[in-house]
Symmetry: D2
Subunit: 305 residues, 4 copies
């Protein structure tokens, strides 16, 4: 098992993940453009590198958590020199960023040319799960590479899935998140419809939880204020998984559907509704939690039934 | 607890429910227009009545399971003489039909004029659940009336919920089924998108089951052929909950939303998609199971990713 | 040709229509609950009646312009005494209100029992067209009755269409307005998409006007601020045809579609979008013109292309 | 004005366009991979070249009409040698293909490096318009370049618009076609709704043509069989503008919307409906005319109203 890890990208997610590797006994050298983020990682036991190239020097495994595919492709491949040229042959690259499957495949192919195995391993679960090491990883790559990644990913999460070959992790992620968006909006609509007809949202939630309407949004993340104690809906949609991030994932899903000529009318409508929500008043420019879509449906006064 | 029950309506659902009351020790007198259905009920231990009026004569509790609100209102109220006029004061009427909340409220109000308590108690679960006494009942009526109904309904189902006052059972039912339709279609879209990008639908299902995409359709009723052994998708969508019944429930949901000026874009799109599906080739005129919506999205050949 | 007309309902529309009958030489006796509205009609040459019954007494033709079907049915049929009982046999009733086709058919049937011909004649065109006598009337009733109505309606409008038998005028009206809503939203989306990619909305409008995208919204009622001089979009969406009225018509369209099991996915989405728009910030509680739907799509800053 | 034109791509569209240049007095040298297409062009007065490079040799103006952006970019830029390297400095390139705006911009930029002006000029109008020289051209490029192109394009069409700078022609085209798809589907829904309520589709069409529902689909291209004599709907949707081509344009529109973070719920739904229609039975694998979307809404038997 590799013990020397280079870790690039210490944002909200990466900043929570890297320390969990330290706790599990790995030697972790990190890099981020933010000095502050670097400092926090050092306090958690990582060692700081002065550049991405320095962070990966001599690492048996390189992990990255970056904002989008353009940055991933630029950093690893198109920059001069490319980060891949600083990584030793035989090393394992695990890119945890959520990007298009095509970007992941390009990275894997470029890595392979240099004798490096690269897998895509986007995550499910938010900032809290990153800190608590309870993320789920959806991996795309060869069975061997994914198995090699498993003990490392297990230090940062509770589930490690292999979805298929290179890029499949990204596909699984966007399928999952598109479905999540669909049932979150469906849940918000159903709760509002019930409330508009005089039902108590908590009672209706209880009934649907034990019936065929049951879904993750209803069970773990009820969007109606006051129904569940510890979810964003009960703290004015602060924290959680931002509308803007859901928008990004829905955009990747639609892009993938366009490419494969798959038709996803509910997914496309979800993308439009999240987009309109992010532009309207109730989402704080898309910075509130994605369950705030409930606000799109709420009314000043209820109708008759 | 009432022991003499009059039971009206022995279709696919009612025909399975009445025998479970006999098994639980109730004395059940049944009526249906079909002699064959009556005969089956008699074989299961019910006694047959020659008319609806005769079935409810002297009953402490009357249960009905009828196809739609027009029939419910006609039978109980508008026929001459009205069935309500044959039911004794103090009796409990439990209407298990899925109808508009307004119909349920009218029935309750008319019953009350005659000293009769009537509740709405539409069910969740299909023909198999009716036979196995594992239905869920969503009740609308006073707490007293719903509590009085509980031991009787418990003989036919595993869950008895009180959603609120008269009509609330109907509202809960349509909210639940609208949400079910939304996540079923969302699940079908997500699975097809994954398959079109080369993923194995069983692997993708496993991943989403353990992630935030999880929902009842995925867990209990996977719409992709071959993923789950004992569901309609694996027997060419035979049996189960017919597209036409889902269409009816979605129609009731939209009607309710129009009345309360609630906006349910995903629910409305689900209603259109189920409607178009019922008209297109792949649903056998709407008689296949509702998970056959998967066929709307399937393609002759998969695209690139 | 009838010369004595009873006119009920002097709101924004009816208040503009009745004076045009006077100008054309008819003798018009009016009634409205508002004394102020009555007074304005008297100033325009109508004579005021103290009740609806008094207004129709001895009239050869009765015209009504009322807010909804519940009021129409209540006034003409269900009130005691019913207004129909005050109208002489052989008279012609022209109901210009926009109501469900079923309401129009009930009115026609009840009228016929009393030897009265009643047609539905909902209008297209707003407050300005009512005042200018340029409304379009969509009539439902026998050919004879519609022909009898033609010279009277021609005094108030520039187009009189017979759509078919009783109720057909209502159906034509909602089909037209549903289509109007669809192409208004489509136009708003297309203009915004162009603007977001750097196009001048006036140039893009010009191109589409001469191409296959051409439609009434683009030609007569451009929703993008500043493109056309004399439309609501260029006066902050004041005046015109209110979002709330479009919502009402879309509700009638969906109700009709539910009844006939017709599927109208674009119409249903238009209804949801107008509903959400009426609840969101940019429509002044639905009191702005319906072209204000453009605001739903506008962005603080434009993206790249 | 240039007189020597090189013309690449003689498919259904290009094959109709090139002869019109000859008629207008231009000297036209053509190339296509199909010997048959070349032969037809020669019969119409063009001279055949043995390669694309040969066709453009010495041309003052190069016109191309190709199936998609990948082919355009490959031919002009990425092939070795690139076609641009065979075109003389100072020449004008007019690409009439419908491609992403980004492809057009790349072509323009690469051309400029070689002293060549390239504009995008996608067309509106189908095969018949190409043959009849009544196409509309939507141009993107500098005012000078677009003015230089005008007399040439005028030989092949009746309208030449400048939408803006490079790529703007493509944007105008997809905005227009997205709007066209939206009002075509809206028209089909409205006509079916009317028919399902007993209206004659020709009568309803007449009414809406003179009312606010009016649009190009209704006026020039009625999708209901039998209403208009000379449109695809009246010859079982043969000929016209194929479903598959509309799908391609809607795909480009959605891709553009994703890029600019514009939200087009009606456009996205239109894309899904055309996609599902192309997969279902009624479109002959997408080869029927796009007004065949009417079939998606038609029913075996009409409902009540």
């Amino acid at each position: 098992m590799p013990t020397k890890i280079g870790f690039i990208g210490l944002g909200n997610m990466g900043g929570g993940m890297a320390p969990n590797l330290v706790k599990a006994g790995f030697e972790v050298r990190v890099f981020d453009l933010s000095a502050e983020a670097l400092q926090r990682a050092v306090e958690a036991g990582c060692s700081a590198a002065g550049s991405a190239a320095a962070a990966v020097q001599g690492a048996e495994c390189v992990i990255s958590m970056l904002p989008n595919g353009a940055i991933v492709e630029s950093l690893y491949i198109d920059a001069e020199p490319a980060l891949l040229d600083h990584i030793g042959a035989g090393a394992l690259v695990i890119d945890c960023s959520t990007v298009a499957a095509a970007s992941s495949r390009r990275l894997a192919a470029e890595a392979q040319k240099r004798g490096i195995n690269a897998i895509d391993a986007p995550v499910s679960g938010g900032v809290a799960a990153a800190a608590a090491a309870t993320l789920a990883f959806m991996c795309g790559g060869s069975e061997t590479a994914c198995e090699a990644a498993r003990p490392i990913l297990s230090a940062m999460g509770s589930n490690v899935f292999r979805a298929g070959d290179s890029g499949a992790g990204q596909v699984a992620k966007i399928c999952n998140n598109m479905l999540l968006a669909v049932h979150m909006i469906g849940t918000a609509e159903a709760l509002q419809l019930g409330v508009d007809h005089g039902l108590d949202p908590a009672v209706l939630s209880d009934i649907m939880l034990k019936s065929s309407g049951c879904n993750w949004s209803l069970e773990k993340y009820n969007p109606y204020p006051g129904v569940m104690a510890s979810v964003p809906a009960s703290r004015e949609y602060q924290g959680g998984f931002m509308v803007n991030l859901m928008k990004k994932d829905l955009g990747l899903a639609l892009e993938a559907a366009l490419r494969s000529q798959s038709y996803t009318p509910m997914g496309a409508l979800a993308q439009s509704l999240y987009g309109l929500h992010s532009q309207a008043g109730g989402s704080d420019n898309g910075e509130l939690d994605f369950s705030s879509i409930q606000r799109l449906f709420s009314k000043p006064s209820t109708g008759e039934s």
